[in-house]
Amino acid sequence: MGLTGFLTVSAALFTLGMVIFISRKNAIAILMGVELLLNAAALNFVAFARFTPSQASQLDGQIFAVFIVLLAAAEAVVALAIALSVYKEFHQVRADKLVSLKG
């Protein structure tokens, strides 16, 4: 417990998210990694809100976390819409195969 504990967990989550993001080939898996990243950040916010609150209000961090959740939802919607479109076109969503834009 304590601030450092939560921050450590958040760091671990962040690391996991990075690993997933970098190493997985499926687009949906990459999205999952992104979710983990976001969660790690939100956890950070909330932990700081609890242990070092700002002058204005104690719950700034939590507000931020709420917004992060909302944004994550919006982003997931759009990303999945894209993934479906891509799937329709290419019949696959593997990131390492979808490279025709590469220069």
Binding site: M18, S23, A95, V99, K102
Partner: protein, 719 residues
């Protein structure tokens, strides 16, 4: 004096100019103006020189005896440290005589050459060379110092080579020219050694030298006391100079070039090998007579060589069939006479014989040339005969010259040869006289043999040649006649005392060339005694005169009167020569069969063979001298081929090795570096470009890695 001084410098320069003109423009003149104009142009310069020679001679006769040495300084030539040679001409009685001989006979032979070389395609080149020869000879004769004399000496050697090998397209002519030049060169080495010794001693003893004869003569007493290599200096110089004369004047052992020189055109043989070049050695001895007076041992050596030459070549001449070869060996023999005279101290007698010999030998050569041309270049006497009817002028001229050479009374040859024989007897030794005496007889024999075989008796020619031969045109024949007349009459210049004359010639030469009146050895001893007496009495004996009065007993002959002996010897030689001439008459005219009988015996055949083959001297030289030298050449050539070429090839090999190394180095390493750089750039580029993939994953991943690295750096370096 001023006439001489103004005229003499032109005498050698005009023929030189003529040579230049004929050499550079001669072909053009020949093709444009024809043969006659070219010939006249070629003869013009010698003619003018001859005119000058005659006028100078007349002028010098008008001078007082003491003023007859005229030195004409033109300019400085060599000015190096102690050696200051000037370009000076010396005109004195000796030069005057030589000038007359060279220019007059030269001009006559040039005119003769116009006729002889008729139709030859190298007409202009002939006159160029002849003019050049005259220029060189005149330089030799007029030079006031040893260097100019040597310059002329070399020049005549060169011209002799050029003229002997005139028709060089035939190999044997070129070979003969080469032989003449090389044998001459061997002699020149001796001459040059002598000059260098004189120069060296003059420079060390007197501080500086100009090598002029005046200086040489004036310092002769000082030089007489020096030694070189353990020998008396003057003896060594005298022998060295004589070696030069051996080469130039064809004495044993360097005479072998002269008979081969007959390969050249006959005018060349007449001018060079009878009258002028070969006499250069005799002239030289006359010029430096003061040197030879103080070198009695050298003179003794010379007398032996001269006598031997005289006799030997006369015997060879007896057995030759080529008309020019007979005359060539005769020349060698007569030169022996001249040197014989010089070697017993009778310098003026030698010069006088030079003069008479020039006249009659040139006449003989020109006559033979006329015959050769008439017979379309046939030279073998066995194919001649009865030519007197067909070619009278040539024939009678040659007979006149033969009378002179045999010493028929009152001809020029008579006076000059008898003078020599007398001096040889009285100042040399009876042995010397005997050799000369016998040789005189042999001379008479072979000359009459020549005449009888050529001009008399039944002709042995074939029909065609007989019909076509006729007397040559005037320009060819008239010079012969002129010289023949001269041969008969010149003798009266030097009639000796016992016959009632005044020896004008000897007196004429006296201020410049002083005869000895006792044998050289005796004279030398007397001089030593006088010197010792002077030193003992320690009085300032100013008995040195410029003309080098080294004759111990001044004035005419001593108390003893030799007139009877002279008459006796003269009568003996006349009788002997008449006898041998008569023998020739019998053997070749009256009773040829007797000759054939004698010749048929084996002994006679053997002797004949030896004589005909010139005592196999050439073969001897070939085996002993030339073959080892050729082997040395082969060895050197092989050496050059193996070692020098080997070195060159080795250098080339090393070059190839080095370059292949460099090539490998270049290929592997340099190219490797270049290729490596390219490969590195490619790989780096590939690697770097992989960063630029469109994959977001890669981008994020690499930025993560970089972040880690950055953190690591910060931690490590910034603590």
């Amino acid at each position: 004096m001023s006439h001489i001084q103004s005229v003499i410098p032109f005498v050698p320069i005009l023929p030189l100019f003529g040579a230049l003109v004929m050499g550079l423009l001669g072909k053009k003149i020949y093709t444009k103006f024809g043969e006659n104009v070219t010939g006249i142009l070629g003869c013009s310069m010698p003619f003018i020189s001859a005119v000058f020679a005659v006028t100078s001679f007349i002028a010098i006769n008008g001078l007082d005896v003491t003023e007859r040495i005229i030195r004409i300084n033109l300019m400085n030539w060599v000015t190096v440290a102690d050696l200051q040679v000037e370009w000076t001409f010396r005109y004195d009685p000796l030069s005057a005589i030589m000038l007359l001989v060279v220019t007059i006979i030269g001009t006559l032979i040039h005119i003769y050459g116009m006729g002889y070389m008729h139709g030859d395609k190298s007409f202009s080149r002939f006159f160029a060379y002849m003019n050049l020869f005259l220029a060189s000879m005149l330089l030799l004769v007029l030079g006031d110092n040893l260097i100019i004399m040597f310059l002329g000496w070399e020049g005549v050697g060169l011209c002799s080579y050029l003229l002997i090998g005139f028709w060089f397209s035939e190999k044997q002519n070129a070979v003969a020219g080469k032989k003449a030049f090389i044998v001459n060169r061997i002699g020149d080495l001796g001459f040059l050694t002598g000059i260098l010794i004189v120069a060296y001693f003059s420079m060390t003893l007197f501080g500086s030298t100009n090598l002029s004869f005046v200086e040489f003569q004036g310092n002769i007493d000082v030089l007489a006391e020096q030694t070189i290599w353990g020998l008396p200096l003057l003896e060594v110089i005298a022998v060295c100079f004589f070696i030069g004369a051996m080469g130039k004047s064809a004495q044993i052992p360097l005479y072998v070039w002269l008979p081969d020189a007959m390969a050249g055109p006959t005018p060349v043989s007449a001018l060079i090998h009878a009258a002028t070049m070969v006499t250069a050695g005799v002239y030289m001895m006359g010029r430096v007579f003061f040197l030879y007076t103080m070198a009695p041992h050298a003179l003794g050596f010379i007398s032996i060589i001269a006598a031997l030459t005289c006799f030997m070549s006369a015997t060879i001449g007896m057995a030759q069939f080529d008309i020019k070869k007979v005359l060539a060996y005769s020349t060698v023999s007569q030169l022996g006479y001249m040197f014989l005279a010089m070697s017993v101290g009778a310098f003026s007698a030698g010069i006088f014989h030079l003069l008479t010999h020039a006249a009659f030998k040139a006449a003989l050569f020109m006559g033979s040339g006329s015959i050769i041309v008439a017979l379309h270049h046939k030279q073998d006497m066995r194919e001649m005969g009865g030519l007197l009817k067909k070619m009278p002028i040539t024939g009678y001229s040659m007979i006149a010259a033969t009378l002179a050479i045999m010493g028929f009374p009152l001809t020029s040859g008579f006076f000059s040869k008898d003078e020599i024989l007398w001096k040889a007897f009285i100042q040399g030794s009876p042995m010397l006289w005997l050799v000369g005496f016998v040789a005189a007889g042999i001379t008479s024999f072979y000359m009459w043999r020549l005449v009888f075989m050529t001009f008399f008796g039944e002709t042995r020619m074939d029909e065609h040649t007989w019909d076509h031969c006729k007397e040559q045109p005037k320009r060819t024949v008239v010079p012969i006649a002129i010289l023949a007349i001269a041969a008969l009459t010149i003798g009266f210049w030097n009639v000796p005392h016992f016959l009632g004359g005044h020896s004008n010639f000897t007196h004429f030469l006296d201020p410049v060339v002083h005869d000895l009146s006792s044998s050289p050895m005796e004279n030398y001893r007397k001089l030593q005694l006088i010197k010792e007496k002077e030193q003992q009495s320690s009085t300032d004996h100013a008995a040195k005169s410029e003309s080098g009065h080294q004759d111990a007993s001044a004035g005419h002959e001593g108390a003893v009167d030799h007139t009877a002996l002279e008459w006796g010897l003269m009568a003996a030689s006349v009788a002997w020569t008449f006898f041998t001439g008569f023998l020739a008459y019998i053997f070749y005219m009256r009773n040829p069969k007797a000759r054939e009988q004698i010749m048929a015996s084996a002994f006679a055949q053997k002797i004949f063979l030896v004589l005909n083959n010139k005592y196999y001297v050439d073969e001897f030289y070939e085996a002993v001298v030339l073959t080892p030298i050729r082997k040395l050449f082969d060895f050197l050539g092989a050496f050059d081929g193996m070692i020098v070429d080997g070195l060159v090839n080795f250098a080339g090999f090393m070059g190839r090795i080095t370059s292949s190394f460099v090539g490998i180095f270049d290929n592997e390493i340099i190219d490797g570096l270049a290729n490596g750089a390219g490969w590195g750039a490619q790989a780096g580029g590939k690697g770097a470009s992989s960063l630029q993939s469109g994959k977001i994953q890669t981008i994020i991943g690499s930025s993560l890695v970089i972040f880690i690295i950055l953190v690591a750096c910060v931690v490590l370096f910034l603590g």
